[in-house]
Amino acid sequence: MNCFYRAFNELDLDLQKTAFIGGIGCSSRIPLYINSDAMHTTHGRALAFATGLRLARPDLRIVVFTGDGDLGAIGGNHFINGCRRNVDMTVICINNNIYGMTGGQASITTPHDFLSTTTPQGNKEYPFDLAEIAVAAGANYVARWTTRHVHELTKSMKTALQKKGFRMVEVVSQCPTNFGRRNKMADPTQMLDWFKESSVRRDKARAEEIDHVDLNLAGQITIGEFCNRDRACFEDLIGVGKHGE
């Protein structure tokens, strides 16, 4: 949140002309804490609400705060189609690898063999790589950092806020209460250390020809800018705002 505020402030953006949208979950509550127009929507649907608002009001800047469960599980369909449609919005996905608000159930990004209240013998499913999905689905800008990478994260948020089309910044974040505690990292600083030790730059991972999915499986975190392209955004292509002329 601090990184976002700093990025937002350094760019001198107008809060009155920005709408913040969240779904349901720990991260999706952030819009409620910002002194601007905010929509706290239903679980997983934030991107769809945001799409409607943006197309109805192209003068508004849209920022969506979401999490791993909200974006990748229940909202997975809206996520991939949102990337594909490329409507102008900045999506900040705070991925804590767990359903924290409901008490620590496994999510779609819980690493393989990690413990949660619904995987007491270890998670036997394989995690989603949200950033890679966004790249494949067609987002204009995708980056992933952890909460340990404050400067890089702020820089990526600034880049994202200045671009057009669908931009996603994934923030791998700690949930010491419901994730760390059950996985031998109860102290928040332990998790930050883990982030530091297990982070691998995407370009390096690519250079060493390591499959990024395997990286994820090994409990390693691929970080960096995943893509930065300039496909024309949907509202420009359909001429929103010029209709009826």
Partner: protein, 377 residues
Amino acid sequence: MSGKVKEYFVQGNDACVEAALVAGLKFFAGYPITPSTEIAEGLAARLPKAGGVFLQMEDEIACISAVIGASWGGVKSMTATSGPGFSLMQEAIGYAAMSETPVVIVNVMRGGPSTGQPTRASQGDVMQTKYGSHGDYQVIAFAPASVQEMFDLTVQTFNYAEKYRVPAFVLSDAEIGHMRGLLRVPGNVKIVNRKERGVVRDDEAYTVSDDVVRPFPVFGRGHKTMITGMTHYREKPRIEPEDTKVHSDLVHRLNEKVTNNRKDINKWEVVNEGAKTMIVSYGSSSLGPMEIASKEPNVGLLRLKSVWPFPEEPVQDVAGKCERILVCEMNMGQLYWAIKRAALEAGCRKIEFMSKLGGDPPTPAEVRARLKEMGAI
């Protein structure tokens, strides 16, 4: 606006498109589904030319969510679907009720449950319209019985959605949606727009006090609006999920703003008033009864043009003056039980039910046979 009437020969779904454009629709999101698709196709061709946005989303949940998002941008927004898509929309319909978002949902009903009969008519979604999402809420729903009514009542649906800040429904069906007939579009249709916060004007459309229906704070105008589906205190950024009184007051107000204004909302038509036998019906199941009531002086018809909020007053009024009632629906008795309860309270002792399933509306011959069985004719 000129008072010139334009005439068209079109299907019900086209009349709905015409009405939406006249009502001032500016945002539509849809997903292809029979038998409502013509509405999406019509708007895809015409809405951008009218200065609006047409969007095809990835599923019906996304459609209704986008429509709610657009409504908070301050524009009139709508979606159209049928049974399976309507089921998917229920989650966000509850959100629209809780967040008091004016949206219009057209449901061209088909036979269910599940995939059922995509190309045939039914009235199987009447209860779902009112009770489909979790929790207690009220909606407004109109049931057209002709191409002309598909136009007239779609405009009304927009007007009441805007006036009361509720999700409002056009409950059509495959029969009315695909029926072709004469459509007359007057040049001076009465249109209601939501009262926006910060905009002061004397408008006779808003006779409801602001305590019940609050002015709408459009996004991007500096109101710092916080919209949530959680229990909240007015529209200030305060969510109060643990406060029992805030929740109770909120849910009471959301319901009462509709039920207390039933007389303003409900529309109906009575044929052969005072007849000993009255048929109560709506939508395409009232077509057969209409034919009978026009020929049999002893048989009357209460045709409901709106089904939610439940039209308590017209049903009680008719039931208090007749000996027997025949409720006619294309389902297994969805409005029947509410009508029976109201009629019993009004003193009518004999209330029977005629159900027609399978996709065809009840024919005049079938209605006549049933009335003979009852000893009514």
